[in-house]
């Protein structure tokens, strides 16, 4: 089945508005965490949610569009990281299809794996396009790794390894907690409903 066909199936019915909601959530999640003074961005929480509840290709689409819109709304360099978000959407979607979102320990392992993968994907982009400067607090970490004698690519990668797994672990756990508590009458309308923990039909 072609990707276009797959996307068409994944984004039919309620999935389309939900996809749009999750893109918006990616963009405004930072405001919520800032209001609560929590030092994480959660800027892929919507992507993860779509990937689990709808499917990997919809997840990839949510990731790409989130970055492009964020770029249009005042964080210009985000557009260049769209490929990383696409990988996050695809990877999470395939993990969910394999049942990794049914048990909390698999979710935790998945989150850490995702973090490592995100670090691997974003390192070349931020090293070669931006010389490791991302206008964020993590830049100081990059500079520290450089000051102890690593190359730019290595420094950016180590910085990613230090911060991405934690961020993705929190995003994954958050999505797991949120989706687990949703009523089945709502989730059953989405193609990824089978990816969630099984519950007795009575609940």
């Amino acid at each position: 089945m072609s990707i276009r066909e797959q996307l068409r199936i994944e984004t039919s019915g309620p999935a389309l508005p939900f996809l749009a909601f999750c893109i918006a959530l990616n963009i405004v999640a930072g405001q919520v965490t800032a209001a609560l003074k929590i030092p994480i961005y959660l800027d892929s929480i919507g992507t993860v949610m779509v990937a689990v509840l709808v499917g990997p290709f919809a997840g990839a689409m949510a990731g790409a569009f989130s970055n492009l819109l964020a770029s249009a709304m005042g964080s210009p360099p985000m557009a260049f990281f769209a490929p990383v978000s696409i990988v996050i959407g695809l990877f999470t979607g395939f993990l969910a299809k394999r049942g990794w979102f049914k048990h909390w320990y698999l979710v935790a392992i998945g989150g850490i794996l995702q973090g490592v993968l995100a670090a691997v994907c974003s390192a070349p982009i931020s090293a070669y396009l931006f010389s490791g400067v991302m206008m964020a607090g993590t830049d100081f970490l990059v500079m520290y790794f450089r000051s102890v004698g690593n190359s730019i690519l290595e420094s950016v990668f180590y910085q990613g390894l230090a911060s991405d797994p934690v961020d993705k672990l929190i995003s994954y756990s958050m999505v797991f907690l949120l989706l687990r508590n949703l009523p089945q009458r709502l989730t059953s309308r989405f193609s990824g409903a089978a990816n969630l923990p099984n519950r007795s039909p009575a609940t």
Binding site: L19, A20, L36, A72, P76, M135, P183
Partner: protein
């Protein structure tokens, strides 16, 4: 409909981005100064709203600070043989400062080139143009709906925030309890948005949004490109070609 000169402006963004990767940092710095002035001197690049001009001015200040920080911190952290400046524990190496000067203009030039396009064009007309050039209707729909949600979400979050705080959710307590509070805020948000998604999906379908017709993109409208578009694209190509030639030379 207002003509936002989307073609030439996108080509300009591409050209400036190409410059950021092909030209030496001194030229980039000069270009950067020009780019910052463009919204004030070139009418098609004027900000579309007071909000857009605030974003732009804020970004100018932000980039000045950022540029200085990048140069300073790199000078401080990167060890080199040559020392430009020494004051007590603060030692700035020439190597570090040069690296900072090479990095900062590139990052800022890319940022400003993208910003120029978006402060002078409403996102909706960019999406309209994408649809005209053949972006599938599903994707156009997703983008437009996402914009709608971006506009309305902060309000909804605010309402839930107030409600949860009134119920005594630990919004001002320790980090762990604040993380729990995050779940108590996102949970109702997600619940309401899911049922809204189901309703909106149905409503769209009830208005004729049929999945079967989606794969047929609307006919692309042919346009003659603006002369500026052609010039910008040609210069970009020349720059890339020049860069490749420099690389290939032993």
């Amino acid at each position: 409909m207002t003509n936002y000169h989307l073609g030439p402006k996108s080509a300009l963004t591409l050209l400036l981005t190409t410059c950021a990767f092909t030209l030496p940092w001194k030229i980039q710095l000069a270009l950067l100064c020009l780019v910052v002035l463009l919204p004030f001197i070139a009418p098609p690049l004027r900000p579309i709203s007071p909000k857009a001009s605030r974003t732009f001015l804020k970004f100018i200040w932000f980039s000045c600070t950022l540029g200085a920080v990048i140069v300073f911190v790199n000078g401080l952290l990167i060890r080199g043989d040559e020392i430009t400046y020494e004051f007590g524990p603060i030692v700035l190496s020439t190597e570090g400062i040069v690296f900072g000067l090479q990095t900062a203009p590139r990052l800022l030039l890319i940022s400003f080139s993208i910003l120029l396009l978006f402060i002078s064009t409403p996102i909706r007309s960019i999406i309209d143009r994408l649809q005209e050039s053949g972006l599938p209707r599903t994707m156009v729909m997703v983008l437009l709906l996402a914009l709608y949600f971006v506009e309305t979400l902060p309000d909804r979050i605010e309402r839930i925030f107030v409600a949860q705080e009134a119920r005594g959710a630990p919004i001002r307590a320790s980090l762990l309890s604040r993380l729990k509070a995050l779940v108590t805020i996102l949970s109702p948000l997600l619940l309401s948005s899911l049922s809204e998604s189901v309703e909106r999906g149905t409503a769209l379908e009830l208005r004729g949004f049929l999945v079967s017709t989606l794969s047929v993109p609307p006919p692309a409208r042919a346009r003659t490109p603006h002369i500026a578009t052609i010039v910008f694209l040609c210069v970009s190509l020349l720059l890339v070609a020049y860069r490749i030639l420099v690389w290939l030379r032993p």
